[in-house]
C-alpha cells in the first residue's frame, strides 16, 4: 500500500533522517523530504507544503517547540508528530498545548512507528472523506 501524502522529517541527526526516511517509505509514504534543522525545516515546509511533519523535539538554534508553533501558525491542519527523547511531563505537555498531534518517544521500535503512521493516515483519510 502506498500513500500520496507529503511527509517532511525535521531532525538534526543525519542518522535519524536516514532511518525515518526508510521507515516512512517502507510504510508506504512516497513523497518524503527532510530538513536538518528548524530553519531549513521551515523553509522546506513553505515550499514542499507537507501534510505531515515528523519533528525532532530538541535541536540547536531553533528547538522543536518553536518550529511546531511556527508550523501550526502557518497551517494548523498540518499533522505534526513530535519525535523526541524528552519525557518530562511538563515538556511533553508544552508540545501538546502548542498543537502537536502525536508524540513518538525516541528510541522507538518499528512497530510503534507503524502504529503512529497508521494513526496519521487514519486522520488524513478521515479528512479526505469529510471534505469529499
Amino acid at each position: 500500500m502506498s500513500f500520496a501524502y507529503r511527509v517532511l522529517a525535521i531532525d538534526d541527526s543525519p542518522h535519524f533522517r536516514i532511518l525515518i526516511t526508510k521507515l516512512l517509505k517502507r510504510f508506504g509514504f512516497e513523497s518524503v523530504e527532510t530538513g536538518e534543522n528548524g530553519k531549513v525545516g521551515l523553509q522546506k515546509f513553505d515550499t514542499f507544503k507537507p501534510d505531515v511533519v515528523f519533528l525532532d523535539g530538541i535541536m540547536p538554534e531553533m528547538d522543536g517547540l518553536a518550529v511546531l508553533r511556527s508550523i501550526k501558525g502557518k497551517n494548523a491542519s498540518t499533522i505534526v508528530v513530535v519525535t523526541s527523547s524528552l519525557s518530562e511531563r511538563d515538556k511533553v505537555l508544552q508540545f501538546k498545548e502548542s498543537g502537536a498531534d502525536l508524540y513518538l518517544m525516541k528510541p522507538f521500535e518499528e512497530a510503534k512507528f507503524q502504529e503512529v503512521a497508521k494513526k496519521v493516515v487514519t486522520i488524513l483519510e478521515g479528512r479526505s472523506k469529510a471534505s469529499s
Partner: protein, 102 residues
C-alpha cells in the same frame, strides 16, 4: 560551670561534666542556692531553675538526637531515593504519552 567532682570547667547549660561525667551543679537565678543542673525547681526557693547568667529558658525538656555517621548515610540515601521517585513521577513513557495525546 565548674564540676563539683573533678573541678573541670564546663560550658553552662550542660547536665553532665564533659570531663568525668558527674552531674553538674548550677546556681538558682532567684536565690543563688546551688542546684543540680537537672533540677527543674530550686530546693531553697521553689523557683524554676535556669542556667546561671542566662535568660534563656531551660532546654532540659527539649529532646535532642545525636546523629551517627550511619544515621546520616541512611538519611542521605533516603533523600536520594525520594528525589529519584519524584523525578520518576514527573517523567512519562510512551504509554503515558499515548494516553495524553488520545
Amino acid at each position: 560551670m565548674t564540676c563539683p567532682h573533678c573541678n573541670a570547667e564546663n560550658p553552662p547549660g550542660g547536665k553532665f561534666c564533659s570531663s568525668c561525667g558527674s552531674v553538674l551543679e548550677t546556681a538558682c537565678s532567684e536565690c543563688g542556692a546551688l542546684a543540680r543542673s537537672d533540677d527543674r525547681f530550686c530546693r531553697a526557693c521553689g523557683q524554676p531553675i535556669t542556667a546561671a547568667g542566662s535568660d534563656a529558658p531551660s532546654r532540659q525538656s527539649v529532646p535532642t538526637k545525636q546523629y551517627t555517621r550511619p544515621d546520616i548515610d541512611e538519611l542521605l540515601s533516603l533523600r536520594k531515593l525520594i528525589r529519584k521517585e519524584e523525578i520518576a513521577s514527573k517523567t512519562l513513557n510512551q504509554e503515558d504519552v499515548d494516553k495524553l495525546f488520545g
